[in-house]
């Protein structure tokens, strides 16, 4: 029964997402694609914040590094098959996370927050202040990657609807992959580290190795989100690595509910919807956003993902009173 109540809304939501582009305008198709990309980005951060207890404030670095890998690694005008440019771009982000992780994971708590931010700022200024990636203006892609299967063009990533389905398929894949991963012993070890790292060490775990592994995986998935973002917009800017990007994705995770996988997805939809709504309403949209987030944090500890459990508890209590 509870299993049904948990999976049914997800299947329904997926069905809506599948038929959505047939009814909505292109603007909305692109907006939802952007939301799903943010959801992947936020899920990757939640692996660190929610599951392992590592509050990274520099997660945009990996998002941006994968994005810059696309123009930097493809000679101008060349046609880029997605089968190599996607893995290479994700690998670039993973490698950056691995190298940075070796340093930052030696710190804890507030120091970890500060050094992850410092490394991300270094990456930001590397692209912002040098000509490496077009400086502060960024770079436009000459052409989108091609998706061919057995020599036939399967998707045209110039077409927003095709991009949408590509992004949707990857979002669902990432969600399922992480759901599996977190149920394995590896996932339990991560939760053990968040819950009580000292005890994990006393039981013989070299927690550094596990933290480095998940930091690298999270970096790779942030990279996947960055890659998709570039496929969607067709350009790369240093803003993708900026600290407020790291802050926004952290807000999405907190808004949705840390330590859950569905939380970051709900958080992404709420965040983008709020941004669109508030932006149209007032000039000071970030103020409206700030107030909403404060309300959620105070009124809904556990974030949006905790709403069903709260409702159920409320209903059970109501039934008991009858």
């Amino acid at each position: 029964m509870t299993r049904f109540f948990r999976t049914f809304p997800m299947i329904a939501a997926l069905a809506v997402l599948l038929v959505f582009p047939m009814f909505g305008q292109i603007f909305y198709t692109e907006l939802v694609a952007k939301t799903l990309i943010l959801a992947i980005f936020a899920m990757s951060l939640d692996l660190l914040v929610g599951y392992t207890g590592l509050v990274s404030f520099g997660h945009a670095a990996y998002f941006g590094i994968a994005a810059y890998a696309i123009p930097l690694l493809t000679p101008a005008g060349a046609v880029n098959a997605i089968w190599w440019i996607l893995p290479v771009s994700v690998l670039a982000a993973a490698l950056a996370a691995l190298l940075i992780g070796v340093f930052v994971l030696r710190t804890k708590g507030i120091y970890f927050i500060m050094v992850t931010l410092a490394f991300a700022q270094m990456a930001f200024f590397l692209f912002h202040d040098t000509d490496l990636g077009g400086g502060s203006d960024g770079i436009f892609l000459n052409s989108k990657p091609t998706v061919t299967v057995f020599g036939l063009e399967a998707l045209t990533l110039e077409n927003p609807t095709h991009i949408y389905y590509f992004v949707l398929a990857l979002t669902v894949s990432v969600y399922l992959l992480l759901r599996w991963l977190l149920k394995t012993s590896f996932g339990h070890i991560l939760i053990g580290i968040r819950s009580n790292e000292h005890r994990m060490v006393a039981m013989g775990y070299n927690t550094f190795h596990y933290k480095l592994a998940i930091f690298t995986i999270a970096g790779a998935l942030a990279g996947l989100a960055g890659f998709l973002q570039v496929v969607l917009t067709g350009f790369v800017t240093p803003e993708m690595l900026a600290w407020h990007q790291s802050g926004n994705v952290l807000l999405v995770v907190i808004l949705g509910g840390i330590g859950t996988l569905i939380g970051p997805v709900l958080g992404a939809f709420t965040f983008i919807a709020l941004q669109e709504f508030a932006q149209g309403l007032v000039d000071r949209w970030q103020l409206v956003m700030g107030i909403f987030i404060i309300l959620v944090v105070f009124a809904l500890p556990g974030g949006l993902a905790a709403i069903p459990a709260r409702l159920r508890r409320r209903l059970v209590k109501g039934a008991d009173n009858d």
């Binding site: 991963l181 149920k183 394995t184 012993s185 590896f186 339990h188 070890i189 939760i191 053990g192 819950s195 009580n196 000292h198 005890r199 994990m200 060490v201 006393a202 039981m203 013989g204 775990y205 070299n206 927690t207």
Partner: protein, 258 residues
């Protein structure tokens, strides 16, 4: 290598630990043998937990040497000491409250089996590890609540789980920091039975304020006062020692020694 009862497993030589100006341990030496329960007594703040923390690798000593089966392990990190057979329990219960009892034990046992392939399976599908979790739950008397969430256990059961988790890592040396603290009479006597059974295959260091349990179990007793070793010897000697009486036991004779 086969070890017989009586073999020296762990040896501490002249361990000293300062916290700023405070000498929490001064030149403390001790030998732990397989088949022996060595009780460490002392008033609150005597430095008992500090001593255990140095043996387990949680705290580096300011000076002194720690040997395991003759090898110098003073510089090894805490997780490596656990892997070579030094297991410890904590004075303040240190379990994973959101996991079930069995998941706690499985997580502990899993640390001994880290082949890359194995950790990417659901924990309860790992037969060897699950088998070990059943063994230690049976030993610690937790079979009836294997699937209960650890955070919802009674205080006494949480203490039992604390011990089960240490045993799951197959240690040769057990460093137990007040395992009976806060237990009811029945739970307490079950734990005393368990420790008596564990004696045969392990070297046990027992920090405990429950004097009945200490005198029922201990083969050797060391008394620590203000971080200094006051006296060490068989229980009869400690009981009769004037130095121990005046410095420690005598303070509140006839009542709780702690």
């Amino acid at each position: 290598m086969t070890e017989r009862p009586g073999d020296v497993l762990l040896e501490a030589r002249g361990l000293t630990r300062h916290f700023g100006g405070l000498a929490a341990n001064s030149n403390v030496s001790m030998t732990l043998r397989r088949g022996e329960i060595h009780a460490l007594l002392g008033p609150n703040g005597a430095g008992k937990s500090t001593f255990i923390n140095m043996l387990s690798g949680d705290l580096p000593p300011s000076s002194g040497t720690i040997l395991l089966k003759g090898d110098d392990v003073t510089a090894l990190s805490a997780h490596r000491r656990s892997r070579i057979g030094i297991g410890r329990s904590f004075q303040r219960t240190n379990i994973f409250p959101t996991f079930s009892v069995q998941e706690n034990c499985v997580l502990a046992a899993q640390s001994r089996q880290q082949q890359p392939g194995r950790i990417f399976r659901p924990p309860l599908q790992n037969e060897a590890v699950v088998a070990r979790s059943h063994e230690v739950m049976a030993l610690a008397g937790l079979n009836h609540c294997a699937s209960q969430i650890a955070g919802t256990l009674s205080h006494g059961e949480q203490r039992q789980l604390e011990i089960a988790m240490v045993l799951a890592t197959n240690p040769a040396v057990l460093l137990l920091d007040e395992p009976l603290a806060g237990m009811g009479a029945e739970e307490s006597s079950r734990m005393v039975d368990l420790l008596a059974r564990l004696r045969r295959d392990h070297a046990i260091l027992l920090v405990e304020h429950d004097m009945d349990a200490v005198f029922a179990l201990a083969d050797v007793i060391t008394v620590l006062v203000n971080g200094e070793l006051l006296e060490s010897g068989p229980p009869e000697q400690i009981k009769a020692s004037p130095a121990v009486r005046s410095a420690y036991l005598g303070e509140d004779e006839g009542t709780d020694y702690a």
